[in-house]
Symmetry: C2
Subunit: 248 residues, 2 copies
């Protein structure tokens, strides 16, 4: 592999030329040295600068373009783009992980489990057009002795038939579904809500207390799989989302 030794005497890392070009340009843009609208050197100029072939430069620039940092125009060149609509990446971990990250013991407890033919509300939540069997689950996630989150879930049994045979007494359906369902799409809705009687009771908070609600609908191969609603007491949880322009 043709690698490059950085001139740093102390820590001479070996990174690929591709990576070097990429991070060089990225740095110029993020530092503001090349402001939005600035024309990036032509491929043939970078070819000279880095003493490499055009393909290598092209690959790096294409990647930056795909990441949205630059815009490429035939015959004109490549230009630093105007910073775009803030899009942030929200990592939604398994609740067990989140709780354990707090250094607290995790426990799950099922409250309710009902198998039924999906009613109108079920079908709306799942996004099902035709009626079919669904599994409705309610459970509590604990951090230590305190309720951490209330989970209300619907599973489309037409899509995941085996789920109908599971009891989900001590394991939540989330981890169970992972690994049983292939790559899927998801839509999340995040909002605030006042705790109703049921919720307040389950979470051991006052009725009307503010809660953070995260709802997730999941599809696999175009078929609805599950709808889940997590309700967190306001104090217990903050979502964190990061935006970093195209790490690559």
């Amino acid at each position: 592999m043709s690698l490059v030794e950085t001139d740093d005497a102390e820590a001479s890392e070996t990174i690929s030329l591709h990576q070097r070009i990429l991070s060089d340009i990225r740095e110029k843009i993020l530092s503001g040295a090349w402001p939005p609208g600035h024309r990036i050197p032509f491929e043939h100029e970078l070819t000279d600068e880095y003493n490499c072939s055009r393909m290598t430069v092209n690959k790096a620039l294409s990647q930056l373009a795909k990441a949205g940092l630059i815009e490429r125009r035939r015959r004109s060149g490549s230009f630093v783009r105007q910073p775009q609509s803030q899009a942030a990446v929200l990592e939604l971990h398994d609740i067990r992980i989140e709780v354990e990250a707090l250094g607290l013991p995790y426990r799950y407890e099922r409250l309710e489990r009902v198998k039924r033919r999906g009613n109108a509300e079920d079908r709306t939540l799942l996004g099902l057009s035709a009626p079919g069997p669904v599994l409705s689950l309610e459970g509590l996630h604990f951090a230590g002795e305190r309720p951490f989150a209330l989970e209300q879930r619907l599973i489309n049994l037409s899509a995941v038939a085996e789920a109908g045979d599971e009891e989900f007494v001590e394991i939540a359906a989330g981890p169970w579904l992972i690994g049983r369902v292939p790559w899927s799409e998801a839509e999340h809705r995040i909002r605030a809500m006042a705790a109703d009687e049921n919720t307040a009771d389950a979470l051991d908070i006052d009725p009307g207390a503010p809660c953070l609600v995260v709802e997730r609908r999941t599809w696999s191969a175009e078929h609805p799989v599950t709808h889940v609603r997590f309700i967190y007491p306001a104090e217990s949880h903050t979502l964190v989302a990061r935006f970093t322009p195209s790490q690559g």
Copy 2:
């Protein structure tokens, strides 16, 4: 450009071979035809299947690997990965856009503007180590006649000196900052909160009513730029985040 005609008699699109390989494999994975753990054909096999060079196949597979859909192992081949921790992309638009998308007239009204030497709280919020001048702003975003969101913002004047000369009476600082600051990083925190006296008063809701709070800290070239807190009455706003496995 070497393009490929799809065999579809009706709508013969011309897409690049690269794109075709990419979407073919993507489809196989998302449909579950190639479940997690499945070994993808070797590059030389795909080379045969698509009758193209290894470079073309390699580029496509590398892209899928970068997107996290597959994992590549030297000497062993490429494998479909286990679906990862759900990471969703959260689009955070300008509030004006959001309001206008609702078909309501938008208006911004400044409530307060204070220039001061950053106190301890300011510095914590901004992530500033040294003291320095800051601009503190409070304003209301209206959708029609109803308050839509309360904005509380700090701007690090050491990073954006010109902001000190702006009044921000009728335009919010957000749109003003875009275009004046180069590409930046951001961290968002999302939580629920009960409205305090001030907030309830400004938003014309009951004290204690649930609110959705979005806080954003922004850095440009490692320097803190601004900290902003948006407070939405629970009814007025839902954040939507999507996860789609690697559109490319």
